[in-house]
Amino acid sequence: MDPVTLAVLDNRLRAIVEEMGEAMLRTSYSQILNSSRDFSVALCGADGSLVAQADHIPVHVGALRFASEAVLKTFPEIRDGDIFLLNDPYNGGSHLPDLTIILPVFAEGQCCFFTVVRAHITDVGGGTYGGYNAGATDIWSEGVRIPPIRLGENGDLRADLLAMVCANTRIPRDVRGDLMAMIGSARLGAARIAELLATHGRASLLATVTAILDLAEKHARSILAEWPDGTWSGEAVLDDDGHGRENITIRATCTKAGDSLTVDLTASDDEAVGIVNSSYPNMYSACCMAFAYLLDADLSKNEGAFRPLKVIAREGSIVWANEGRPVTLCTSHCSNEIVEAIIRALQNAAPDRAMGGWGRRFRVAIKGKDPRSGKGFVWHLFHARPGGGGSSAGDGWNTVGEWHSAGGLKFGSIEQAEARFPLHFEKHEFRANSGGAGKYRGGLGAELKLRVETDGPAVGNTAGDGAFHGSAGMQGGEDSAPHRYVLHKKDGSERLLRSKEVSIPIESGEVLHLLSAGGGGWGAPGERSAEAKSKDAEEGYTA
């Protein structure tokens, strides 16, 4: 294979998925997409395998191939001009809020690729607004469930199906705008791929893709080969399932032999009543994510890179729930805990590659009426991000978020948020002392004071974890402080928010006071330099 062509095409494929992602960011309607980037785009092969994926949300890295595979399984005959949609976590999806659009790309009469766009939609129906129903005890109360469907044929959308999807959400205008953005992005990618197929010829392009995947596999294996062989275990603990069951444990047993790695999650606790269960694709993807974090940053994230990884799990456990269990929180939790358990185990094999824990997601969604427009709104909290973990390279990044997004979720402009929502950000600054101590300290979380200025009362839902457990320290580093969210009531009282609640009453004028967790430390705190400690004090990172 000519190395120049290989490099050009590898980069061209990446440029295409990046362009798709850029289009998605710029055109989508929901705040969760256009401000916070909670979407992923990919190019998959005709067999569904992941060929190229833009660096958006790592928790989707290993999951998108399940979507194209589900389409292939459902529709024996794929036709040029088809537009597929799905969200069912038990049939190609990860969790219900993530809608996925899949477009086949044809050349010489054959389906050669799929462009895939997965985006988190603000509302998919279900028992409460905003997608996260912490009260759900089955998937039917989490929202509308869409197995792979043919949303369009011959390039035309089926208006009846689109209307059906929109009829099942509380915010049809946004969902329609977002779906159009997803389809637009997938079409843009398909057009670019079609150009490549025309320029290079189908056979030549497909051969190059095979070589690109093989190269990534070789790269990943060469890194694994440097680690000592052995078997190690690690665990991470969820706060609760929202229904009274606390401290649910994820257990990873990792065996590295030669240039292969097996991650066995069989010993994890049984599935839960509430929304912290994981679907299979999401669990598999979390394992890929942890694996990718321990490899080299510049390694192409594709099917080849993940060939050396074997994942074993038990159906009916928290990481792979039986069909029908609620799973909405899974892209955050227990994804983050799966990653943490794996990194904890493999820090023994690759101490300098392992990093302190990144924060857990503790989301708040507020629903109310904007007095300025008279319209209803749903706002999702992305501010008050937790910190990133310390590592052998230095301290963790402040407020860059969770394992599952690793600095890829933007919290967006406060000016824009205040213009679009009846919210007032009184304070949004670093939270001192929130990072786990260590030779390299965990990054800081934030302090947010948010005044709600709705027309009439608002309601809040929470969905998340990490109010009991902070981010894990590694290599002797300490865990971070956990989250602490409080609602300051008008009567002067304080109401502590739990991480899985529905319908919290909020009066207009009341203030949410949110303190987010930092990242975990790396290395023993005693080894921290005096210089770093005095700088921490001077800059107010510690107090």
């Binding site: 710029r26 055109t27 390279a393």
Partner: protein
């Protein structure tokens, strides 16, 4: 009467000056750059230009209609973290905006990346009690006591950035704070977010303002000294500075908006490429501007250099419009050394202008890329820079021998390794500019300029499989020449944030009037204006740029026409439009352009000594390569590689298999077999 036009490009090592005279001839002069005060090198370069033209400096400047200048003062301050000590006054409760970076971190899968130091440390960011609401209404008035306390705390800073939330809606609080700072801290550089970038989105605005404060003092000081120096030698005409977007602006404006000069240095080369494309150079061009300290690479595809607003320089977001230029920290002066892993490395340390490469004989003892070129026979010790700079071979040998010893190879092998390594780095840079942007470089021409590019162009082009490279006769002066080929540009932006309606006609007209008036202060030629807008659908948050020059502003259908222009552009970019949905016009933009006239000028190389064939080291031994004087070649003359072409300012290696032809513009166009 036709007069002189002079372009001045200050590089890390040399200051290049190009003058196009009344006779239509372009002349190039060089002077050593003077990093402690770049204006000294500029004046010396002008002196050298006058000498080359047979004039006194005073006579030259008396006959000069404009000087256009590219400066690297801001860029260097950012790269070397040597900018001003900045304090930030910001809305109380929000002092971490620039360090939070909106929760984003680059390199998604690199979780072992140390976080960057903020440009303004937290201990120098001070909250001020004041607050506007999103519609511009005052939530909390500017609290005098809290402002006074913040100003007191900021004492000792050289620059103060004032960054208040929603200030783009109403700059009154920022302006009042700025006045108070100026009164309390005289001599301090003060800048406010609403004047730097009057647009919504606080991170972009605050970060750009912090950069402006950081580079403002050094840029102002420098431009002040330059103006002063020029005045002393009798120049009273306009001095323009080329900005990151490739247009030019007067000195005072450049000092005020110093963040806009972050890419001033390399912008000239891109402007040159755009001018060349406009004048008929075919195909996509990749600019390869290799100087002494750094190398700049950009893509000009279809005659257009892309502009963006998401630029970062040295990791700092500057949300002003800017060219898409890749800068590598390696050039002729880059120092070769043995890295931690025991392998040969080149850069990022540079010998700069002083002491310079070992062969300059100014006390440099470390081997550089230029030393390697000398030892490989690519450069002639007697004819470098037309003989103006004799090269000390023994000093080069001694420096390279020390490196070779550590590597356990011969001195020439070490030189060959340095040469190959720097070529590979350059090729990687070109890959980023082309392949990463989805353009196959093999069809493009490597447009090579800057003093050092001619030595590496063929090797870099071959590495990438490119079929062509081109080097101008005055390679070292192309950036300076490009500055004479671009126009004055001044943009007036107004945030509208409303549905398009009939009032837009008045809005745009007022902006155009303001833009034209400002331009008229600088310029008495023909002024044109272009109108565009940043627009989006109601629920989107990103805008797209929509050109509005064809709109009939007086017609009743104007708002519909504006909306339609947006729908069309949305469909062209993203494959669909939503004509039934709400359309918001966020920013109305008017750019006034002052077309700077004057022909390209034809460069005539000064005479050189007759060239002797040279011994060039390849494959373990020396072989004889013929040497030609670039200036002696007639239009259409063809040279088969291997050969060396020399001019007083550059040397070009035409490798075996290359066929080089001199074209009518004075460019060497080389085809690789």
């Amino acid at each position: 009467m036709s007069k002189w036009r002079i372009g001045v490009d200050v590089g890390g090592t040399f200051t290049d000056v190009v003058g196009v005279g009344p006779d239509g001839q372009a002349r190039l002069a060089k002077a050593a750059s003077t990093p402690h005060d770049q204006s000294e090198g500029v004046i010396q370069g002008l002196r050298n230009l006058a000498e080359a033209a047979g004039l006194t400096l005073e006579a030259l400047l008396a006959g000069t209609e404009r000087i256009v200048h590219g400066t690297t003062v801001a860029t260097n301050a950012l790269l070397e973290r040597k900018g001003a000590k900045v304090a930030m006054l910001t809305t109380e409760g929000h002092r971490d905006v620039i360090e939070m970076r909106e929760g984003l971190k680059p390199e998604r899968y690199n979780l072992r990346l140390a976080p960057p130091e903020p440009l303004v440390p937290r201990s120098r960011r001070f909250g001020v009690k004041e607050r506007l609401r999103a519609d511009g209404a005052v939530e909390t008035g500017l609290d005098e006591a809290s402002l006074a306390a913040a100003i007191e705390a900021a004492r000792g800073a050289e620059a103060v950035a004032i960054c208040f939330l929603h200030a783009w809606r109403d700059p009154a609080h920022e302006q009042a704070a700025a006045e108070a700072v100026r009164a309390a801290l005289p001599g301090v550089f003060v800048t406010t977010s609403a004047e730097v970038l009057p647009e919504i989105k606080e991170f972009e605005r605050f970060s750009t303002t912090a950069v402006n404060a950081y580079v403002g003092p050094p840029v102002s000081r420098y431009l002040g000294r330059l103006a002063e120096g020029l005045k002393k030698v009798g120049y009273a005409g306009p001095v323009f500075v080329i900005l990151s977007h490739g247009g030019v602006t007067p000195i005072a404006e450049a000092a005020r908006l110093a963040a806009g000069t972050a890419l001033s240095g390399p912008a000239g080369g891109v402007a040159a490429a755009v001018a060349l494309a406009r004048e008929g150079m075919a195909g996509d061009l990749v600019t390869f501007d290799m100087g002494g300290t750094s190398t700049d690479i950009a893509l000009v595809a279809g005659g257009v250099a892309k502009l963006g607003r998401g630029r970062e320089v040295a990791g700092e977001r500057i949300a002003l419009e800017s060219l898409d230029i890749i800068t590598l920290g390696a050039g002729g002066g880059s120092i070769a050394h043995v890295g931690a892993g025991g392998t040969l490395q080149v850069g990022p340390e540079s010998a700069g202008a002083r002491p310079g490469p070992a062969c300059y004989g100014r006390g440099g003892t470390l081997p550089t890329v230029t030393d390697a070129n000398l030892l490989l026979g690519h450069l002639d010790p007697g004819s470098f820079l037309g003989g103006a700079q004799r090269l000390d071979v023994e000093a080069s040998e001694a420096a390279m021998a020390r490196l070779a010893e550590r590597l356990g190879i011969s001195m020439r092998e070490a030189a060959w390794g340095v040469y190959r390594l720097v070529n590979a780095r350059m090729a990687d840079g070109v890959r980023v500019a082309t392949v990463r942007r989805g353009v196959d470089p093999r069809g493009a021409t490597l447009l090579s300029f800057g003093g050092a590019a001619g030595l590496h162009a063929s090797a870099v082009a071959r590495d990438l499989g490119m079929a062509r490279y081109a080097v101008p006769l005055f390679a070292a002066g192309l950036s300076a020449w490009g500055m004479l080929r671009t126009d004055l540009r001044f943009e007036v932006t107004r945030s509208v944030n409303a549905n398009p309606d009939a009032s837009l006609a008045a809005t745009f007209a007022a902006q155009e009037e303001a833009a034209r008036a400002r331009m008229a202060e600088w310029f008495d030629g023909e002024i044109t204006a272009t109108r565009s807008a940043d627009m989006r659908y109601g629920e989107q948050v990103f805008e797209i740029g929509v050109k509005l020059d064809g709109v009939d502003w007086q017609g009743a259908a104007m708002p519909d026409a504006v909306r339609q222009a947006f729908h069309d552009q949305h469909e062209a970019l993203f494959t669909y439009s939503l004509p039934q949905d709400e359309v918001v016009l966020v920013n109305a933009r008017v750019a006034a352009l002052g077309r700077l006239t004057g022909d390209a000028g034809r460069y005539v190389a000064p005479p050189m000594l007759a060239a002797e064939p040279r011994q060039v080291w390849r494959d373990g031994g020396f072989a004889e390569w013929p040497v030609y004087r670039f200036g002696d070649l007639a239009d259409g003359a063809t040279i088969q590689g291997p050969a060396i072409l020399e001019s007083p300012t550059t040397t070009i290696l035409v490798q075996a298999g290359d066929t080089a032809t001199m074209d009518a513009r004075g460019w060497l166009m080389a085809e690789i077999d």
